[in-house]
């Protein structure tokens, strides 16, 4: 797990930013090379359309901006989940499963349990919205805590266990809403073939902030930003964050100093899972059709790993990385519906390339050191060149 150690080590801010920007630039260069090769083989690709619908349209059309922010929101949560686990030296790749479970149980809470309980005062905005969020957090948290507990007390590697928990999450969802015969929470009245819960109570639905622009943008984006700030404070300013970092950087030293590493490991994984769970919850609460559908989260949980990787686990970096990924997703979506000359898969390739370059810090490190060297060399030359002229004067 040397990658893991490498990622949580203290890096200068400059270095992280350079690495992130460089990996994006390198990815773009690579994709341009690819496009050139495609064109060479007459698989023509309309560059004008790519720029028009892939970039310009996204940044100028409010609807597309809203779309980009819509994709950004769950990525903030799944990215933060990965980043906070990394701080404690844990590699949570179970964001996907935690997101599913968070979304599923908050949907069950807001669509089945509360509306069908018949207790009216509970079916109000002021009660339902906070509790639904809480249920998502707790459900995801438990899903994350199990690998954390097993890691701390039984030494099971969290990567293996979180992968298993992802599969388990799918099966739990299938059991609860997948079958016509035995699933208790399947919406049997609906005509479409989705495995889905009932529509959640209107009281639990988050209203769009700018209904005239987009129905998909709601308060959850801002809650995500607030969460970023809270996590930043947690990591840098609090006792818990201090212990978390100590465990992440050197768990043996932390234990020798009396930090309860087992507790910290379990709690961090729970927190991480809870944050990922929130991502799923807000997808259910804020997006049409306001239900949990199996597969609705796509690969957003896994994409959180990439977001965190590019952000180098810095909370504020996650905002930027999530925006970038949101941009790519919306761009691919926009290209898909508006033009036929450009394959939207290109954007997904770009996304993957960015991840590859960010995951191999050696490449960017080498380039950075080469650039610094060249800069110094040129400076020297420049000074040498300018010195004689000064003497002449």
């Amino acid at each position: 797990m040397s990658l893991q150690i490498d990622l949580i080590k203290a890096k200068s801010l400059k270095e992280s930013i350079y690495t992130a920007i460089l990996s994006i630039i390198l990815a773009i260069i690579t994709i341009l090379v690819m496009i050139t090769i495609f064109n060479f083989y007459n698989l023509t690709l309309n560059m004008d359309n790519l720029i028009e619908y892939g970039v310009r349209d996204i940044l100028s059309n409010p609807e597309n901006i809203a779309g980009m922010l819509y994709w950004t929101t769950p990525l903030i949560f799944s990215g933060l989940a990965v980043a906070i686990a990394f701080k404690a030296g844990l590699f949570n790749i179970g964001g996907q499963g935690q997101m599913m479970i968070g979304g599923l149980f908050s949907a069950i809470w807001a669509a089945e349990i509360i509306p069908k309980s018949g207790i009216n005062f509970m079916n109000t905005k002021i009660f339902l919205i906070p509790t639904t969020i809480l249920i998502g957090f707790i459900a995801g948290g438990i899903w994350g805590m199990i690998p954390g507990y097993l890691k701390a007390h039984r030494g099971a590697h969290e990567v293996i266990v979180t992968i298993m928990m992802n599969l388990l999450a799918i099966n739990v969802a299938t059991y609860l809403i997948g079958s016509n015969s035995y699933s208790p929470f399947l919406d049997k009245t609906s005509k479409d073939a989705h495995s889905q819960t009932d529509k959640i109570s209107p009281e639990a639905q988050l209203q769009p902030l700018f209904p005239e622009v987009s129905s998909r943008l709601n308060i959850s984006l801002f809650l995500g930003v607030v969460l970023i700030i809270l996590i930043y404070i947690l990591i840098t300013k609090t006792n818990f964050g201090y212990k978390m970092r100590a465990v992440g950087l050197n768990s043996i030293a932390a234990e020798s100093a009396g930090i309860d590493t087992k507790k910290i490991t379990t709690l961090t994984m729970a927190l991480s899972g809870g944050i990922a769970g929130l991502g799923g919850t807000f997808m259910v609460m804020g997006t049409y059709p306001f239900r949990y559908q199996i597969g609705m989260e796509g690969t957003l949980g896994f994409d959180g790993i990439a977001v965190s990787l590019i952000a180098q686990n810095s909370p504020f970096g996650i905002l930027i990385a999530a925006l970038f990924f949101g941009f790519l997703s919306q761009s691919a979506y926009n290209i898909d519906i508006k033009t036929e000359d450009v394959p939207p898969d290109l954007l997904y390739i770009l996304q993957a390339l960015v991840i590859i370059f960010a995951a191999t810090p050696l490449i960017s490190k080498k380039i950075i050191s080469q650039l610094v060297y060249t800069k110094n060399f040129l400076k020297k030359k420049w000074n040498q060149a300018s010195d004689p002229t000064e003497e002449k004067q």
């Binding site: 080590k9 201090y242 100590a246 950087l249 050197n250 932390a254 009396g258 930090i259």
Partner: protein, 571 residues
């Protein structure tokens, strides 16, 4: 080349380092160093930590490139041709230097523990059946055996390295280099991990190798070893060669002056003190290893008192780590009890408490391995200091504030007021539980920096940027400043130079005189003898001997350390 020297030694120069300099960003690691190495001699290189010894050796074995200067070698000697002339050479990597016949034996063995001796020795240059990649085990065994016999270093080729004692592991390392046709062996602090008997064995080996015509560079920070073994001694200080001498021309104290550059401080004032009340009492301690199979501590009974330094002697890996860790609580006891007299003078059984609870009873812990157990290298200085305080009951904040130096000015005032309002009190308590007290961290760190002379740009420098000695000062400082009843110091001077070592010793003695009770674990027998009032010797997890410093002789202890037996080689 350098005829004068040649005449004195009547031996051929086989390798010379000419005016080597090496810079690391702004610091000079080596400054114009020139050294000649002759055929068939043992050359000792002495110097403090950070004097440049290891940088020089790394240049010699190809890990670093010198910034200026050159290395020239006798081409015949180093398998580079038949003519006896000097060639300048640059080693791009360790492989190239190995090809030239330079073999480095590192302090930390580069062996694969689970493989057999012969596999380790031939690793990379295996004997195979002709035209196949299949390893010829018979031939390998024969070759390794032959090699051992040739140099008088018998070893059994088929035993697994893991099972060998340290002395034999080192022998495997040496044979590995000889197998690769090394003509110049570099031994980097080879005696650090050995018992006195094993050191004797090593010296015998070195003499045999010298007589067989090999040259050896021997690096050490113990002064008496070069006096015993070396033909020539070169002293390096602050990257410069400050002198060259031979054992017949010098003595230990002269050598020490050369190494440090000034006279050593007077002997420690270890005045005799009556032991006070009992602080820690271990009774019938049994501890099992991590796999829960064998006992690593067997029936340990010991007692430590106020005003006493208890030295735990023993060869590394004989239960010292386990002993310390079971007192701290990192390891659980299988049976037995630990009675501890805490700060409030209550005698309590701490064997069931957690690590934090034990530390909070008044134990200061200096772990043996600073980098992996003591500090967190990527943490700031103040964060590292806080490691010793994070668990303190925070109503003690005022007490902690008192511990700090009064000269350090308050930067802000989040020191606790004494509010009457209960709710306000609760809020303040809660705040202290949740928020890191940066202000207090700053004060504690500044106090340690002032009191222990830590050289650092500021108190929030990341600690890996400090030198090892300064890191150790921080570690000691943070444990001492807690004013603990019991200090467990495990290898407190490992990897620090002579200057810092003296300071650490002085501080430990001071603590003892002020009434603390100290358990000192060290693999350096000299350190134990210098500081302890009472000594216990551990061997294979048992206490095989104990007594006050006057009752035990050095000889007794070193006999006990090896289980009362002289180490013998079995084939």
């Amino acid at each position: 080349m350098n005829e004068g020297n040649q005449a004195i030694n009547n031996k051929k120069v086989i390798l010379s380092l000419n005016n080597i300099s090496k810079f690391f960003s702004k610091t000079i690691a080596l400054d114009d160093v020139s050294i000649n190495i002759h055929e068939g001699e043992i050359l000792a290189i002495l110097g403090e930590n950070g004097a440049g010894k290891s940088t020089l050796m790394k240049i010699l074995c190809g890990l670093f490139k010198p910034d200026t200067g050159s290395i020239s070698i006798n081409s015949k000697w180093f398998n580079q041709g038949d003519e006896q002339d000097f060639v300048d050479i640059q080693f791009a990597n360790p492989r190239e230097s190995m090809k030239c016949g330079i073999g480095m034996v590192y302090q930390h063995f580069q062996l694969v523990n689970t493989l057999s001796v012969k596999d380790n020795i031939t690793l990379g240059i295996e004997q195979t059946y002709r035209y196949t990649p299949l390893i010829n085990a018979k031939e390998t065994t024969r070759l390794v055996k032959e090699l051992g016999d040739m140099y008088g270093l018998p070893i059994s080729p088929n035993s697994i390295v893991e099972d060998l004692p340290v002395g034999l592991k080192q022998r495997v390392e040496i044979l590995k280099q000889l197998y690769r046709n090394a003509n110049l062996l570099i031994l980097d602090e080879p005696t650090a991990v050995l018992t006195p008997t094993e050191v004797e064995e090593l010296f015998k080996t070195m003499r045999k190798l010298r007589d067989a015509g090999k040259s050896i560079i021997f690096i050490s920070h113990k002064l008496y070893e070069p006096m015993e073994i070396a033909d020539r001694i070169i002293v390096i200080r602050k990257g410069k060669v400050v002198g060259e001498t031979s054992p017949s021309q010098t003595n230990e104290s002269l050598l020490a002056e050369m190494v440090i550059g000034k006279k050593i401080l007077q002997q420690l004032d270890r005045k005799k003190m009556e032991k006070g009340q009992s602080i820690l009492k271990l009774k019938d301690i049994y501890v099992k290893d991590q796999d829960d199979k064998e006992f690593v501590l067997n029936n340990i009974n010991m007692e430590v008192f106020e005003n006493q330094i208890l030295g735990v002697a023993g060869v590394q890996g004989n239960g010292q780590t386990e002993l310390v860790e079971s007192i701290i609580g990192i390891r659980r006891l299988s049976s037995g009890e630990i009675k501890f007299t805490n700060i409030k003078n209550d005698v309590i059984d701490i064997s069931e408490l957690s690590i934090v609870e034990r530390l909070n009873q008044g134990i200061g812990y200096i772990p043996e391995d600073r980098n992996s157990k003591g500090i967190i290298l990527d943490f700031r200085l103040n964060e590292n200091v806080w490691l010793a305080f994070h668990s303190q009951d925070l109503s003690l904040t005022k007490e902690l504030n008192k511990l700090t130096d009064e000269n350090i000015q308050d930067q802000d005032s989040d020191g606790v007021a004494n509010p009457d309002n209960k709710i306000l009190k609760l809020v303040i308590n809660l705040k202290q539980k949740i928020i890191l007290p940066f202000h207090l961290m700053h004060r504690l760190t500044q106090t340690i920096i002032n009191n222990y002379d830590v050289r650092t740009p500021s108190d929030d420098t990341i600690i890996k940027n400090l030198s090892g000695g300064n890191q150790q000062k921080v570690l000691l400082g943070r444990e001492f400043i807690k004013n603990p009843r019991l200090i467990i110091a495990s290898q407190p001077t490992r990897g620090v130079d002579v200057g810092v070592m003296e300071k650490v010793h002085l501080e430990l003695i001071n603590r003892r005189n002020e009434g603390s009770c100290i358990i000192l674990v060290s693999s350096d027998l000299d350190e134990i003898l210098k500081l302890s009032d009472y000594i216990v010797v551990l061997y294979e997890g048992k206490i095989v001997g104990q007594g006050s410093i006057d009752e035990l002789s050095t000889n007794d202890i070193s006999q006990l350390m090896t289980g009362g037996k002289i180490l013998e080689v079995t084939i």
